[in-house]
């Protein structure tokens, strides 16, 4: 049980990192200010998760 | 001297009148040993048992008592406490309808054996909150020869009115710890 949970947790953080990278990529590529604000907001919870703050 | 004797006589007379006034009427006199059960698996029967023990009265509680397992033995009075406990009924794996059926069976058997039936509500307003409590109270009190309640249970006058309407004797004690005093 502990081993399975550890494996799922590692996968979860990898997924988080992937989505953060994807959002950051879109943030860099977008030409619209409004979208950049949106991507900026979306990155916050992923950062907090990756840093294990929440 | 005559005056002192007269005063003494008057004092004794007043005291004896007080004693007469304080003695419970015959119909509300309870006689042990007591058999106690609960209609709704609340801890009322345990409390009556503990209060009786403290007062030196003989009481036996059995929350699973049925008409089939009932044995009159030397018991003189059956006390059935009303008011339900969801946790208690969960603990016993039963429900309020089964509880009422069980208790009515026990009451019938006890009455046939000559026991006095006391319907009791001794856990206060906390056991008068829902329809299960109401069903338990209605079933037990309707069969009771005497009603025994604590002040909190009757704080809205429900039992006083019920006893008056159905012409049943009512005993009100301050709280569950005081029950032993009337047993």
């Amino acid at each position: 049980m502990i081993a399975i949970n550890t494996a799922v947790t590692v996968l979860y953080y990898l997924i988080c990192a992937f989505f953060l990278a994807a959002i950051a990529y879109n943030f860099v590529k977008t030409r619209k200010v409004q979208e950049s604000v949106l991507y900026g907001l979306m990155m916050i919870p992923f950062i907090l998760r990756l840093l294990r703050l929440k | 001297m005559k005056k002192t004797a007269l005063m003494l006589f008057l004092a004794l007379l007043v005291l004896s009148l007080c004693a007469v006034a304080e003695a419970p009427p015959e119909e509300t006199k309870l006689e042990g040993p007591y058999l106690v059960t609960t209609c709704g698996q609340s801890p009322g029967a345990v409390m009556v048992g503990m209060s009786a023990m403290q007062a030196g009265a003989k009481a036996t509680y059995n929350n699973a008592l049925t008409a089939e397992t009932f044995e009159p033995g030397e018991f003189k009075t059956l006390i059935v406490t009303a008011g339900t406990s969801m946790k208690g009924m969960g603990a016993a794996g039963t429900d309020i309808n089964a509880e009422i059926e069980r208790c009515l069976g026990v009451i019938k058997a006890a009455r046939e054996a000559g026991l006095k039936i006391v319907g009791a509500h001794i856990e206060g307003m906390a056991r008068r909150t829902d329809s299960s409590d109401a069903a338990s109270i209605e079933a037990v009190m309707a069969e009771a020869d005497v009603i025994l309640v604590v002040t909190d249970s009757d704080s809205d006058g429900f039992f006083t009115a019920y006893a008056k309407e159905h012409e049943k004797p009512l005993i009100v004690v301050k709280d569950a710890l005081e029950i032993g005093k009337v047993l």
């Binding site: 799922v8 947790t9 990155m43 294990r52 | 801890p43 345990v46 403290q54 969960g90 794996g93 569950a176």
Partner: protein, 387 residues
């Protein structure tokens, strides 16, 4: 060029938001609660001293031991099962900071599910900390959640299957300490925590356990003692004595259901020689219909929405303008624990535990809880511990 500067501005604002949020979460997670223990404390152990199952985890809490050296009974007082019920924590703490045992032994745990105290309930806007004023200053504790922090125990199963009963429970209850008794040595964090606590109970030969809780007024099991069947008589007598002689609002008693698994009042009694009790007291902040959820509500226990529900007979405990203040809730728990132990002494003299130094119900109401908390800064360093 304009877009570039706009994005830099967005990044700066975003970083500032993340930094503030991150600081607040981190502060609650690492805050250490000081305990200035009674001079009569004998020893402080770790829960992992009884089982390696939780060694190195956040839930390896302190176990405060008061051993009189005189043969008698052994009691375990458990605080912090649900970290959003802070009176449970502080009631246990009042014992640790004031107790002197002259016969038998008393073990006290303040934070049995420490992990739950390191975050608050999602979406409920709970305060992160709460404070009590003492004559020497202000004491501060974490205000937590009902279940362990997902950072410490994650993911939850789709359905939590309780061990050993096999009963199905809601998924998040795998992190709810009071659904995980008697625990499992190789389970998830809370299962391992209760397993270690059970080992404590078994290895120390504990005679009775008291698990402090608080409950919403909408919940039917309120202001009561829930007892394992071996403790029915002790609990009934305690309830009658306190209702008759001490409490304005009666304290009831409930039987522990045999078919409901995972709760301390059921499993501790079933899986050890100890008799298990659980105390509940009314806390309006836990009600779903409450108003603003802040520290003021937590401490005063006053809420006009909860009062309105009471006017419509929707509650299982009375409430009026005076509310259910913190000190009243502490006074009830501390007094109930003392009385229950005294009644247990009467009915089971071989398990006698004699205690001194614990404030009375009226003392706590008159002087406030703060009057019975010691100043960690002024206490000798060897008497100061951290949860």
């Amino acid at each position: 060029m304009k877009l570039k500067w706009a994005k830099i501005a967005v990044l700066l604002v975003m970083a500032a938001c993340a930094a503030v949020a991150g600081f607040l979460f981190h502060e609650q997670r690492v805050y250490r609660e000081a305990v200035a223990a009674s001079p009569h404390l004998t020893q402080v152990k770790k829960l992992s001293d009884y089982s390696p199952a939780i060694k190195g985890t956040v839930n390896d809490c302190n176990v405060y031991v008061f051993d009189s050296g005189v043969p008698g009974g052994t009691a375990l007082l458990i605080g912090g099962t649900h970290a959003e019920e802070p009176v449970a924590l502080v009631s246990a703490l009042v014992f640790t900071e004031n107790l002197k045992v002259t016969q038998g032994r008393v073990f006290v745990i303040h934070r049995v599910n420490t992990s739950a105290s390191t975050n608050t309930r999602l979406g409920e806007a709970y305060p992160r900390f709460f404070h009590v004023e003492a004559p020497w200053g202000v004491q501060k504790w974490r205000m937590g959640d009902r279940v362990a922090n997902p950072l410490d125990s994650w993911p939850d199963p789709e359905v939590y299957i309780h061990y050993p009963s096999g009963q199905n429970l809601a998924y998040m209850d795998i992190r709810n300490l009071n659904r995980n008794w008697p625990g499992k040595a190789d389970g998830l964090l809370t299962e391992r925590t209760t397993f270690a606590a059970m080992e404590l109970i078994r290895q120390e030969g504990v005679d009775l356990t008291i698990d402090f809780h608080e409950a919403e007024l909408e919940y039917p099991v309120e202001n009561t003692i829930v007892a394992h069947e071996r403790g029915n008589e002790v609990a009934a007598m305690t309830s009658m004595m306190l209702t008759s002689q001490t409490f304005r609002v009666p304290i009831g008693m409930e039987f522990s259901p045999k078919a409901l698994h995972g709760l301390s009042h059921r499993e501790v009694g079933d899986h050890s020689d100890a008799v298990s009790y659980l105390f509940e007291v009314a806390e309006p902040m836990l009600d779903r219909i409450r108003g603003i959820t802040d520290e003021e509500l937590l401490m005063s226990g006053k809420d006009r929405f909860v009062m309105k529900a009471g006017e419509h007979n929707l509650l299982y405990a009375p409430i009026d303008e005076s509310g259910w203040p913190f000190d009243l809730r502490i006074a009830r728990h501390v007094t109930t624990a003392q009385t229950l132990i005294q009644v247990n002494n009467m009915l089971h003299p071989d398990q006698a535990i004699l205690m001194e130094g614990i404030p009375s119900y009226q003392d706590i109401l008159d002087q406030g809880t703060g009057a019975f908390l010691r100043d960690p800064a002024a206490a000798p360093p060897e008497q100061v511990y951290y949860d």
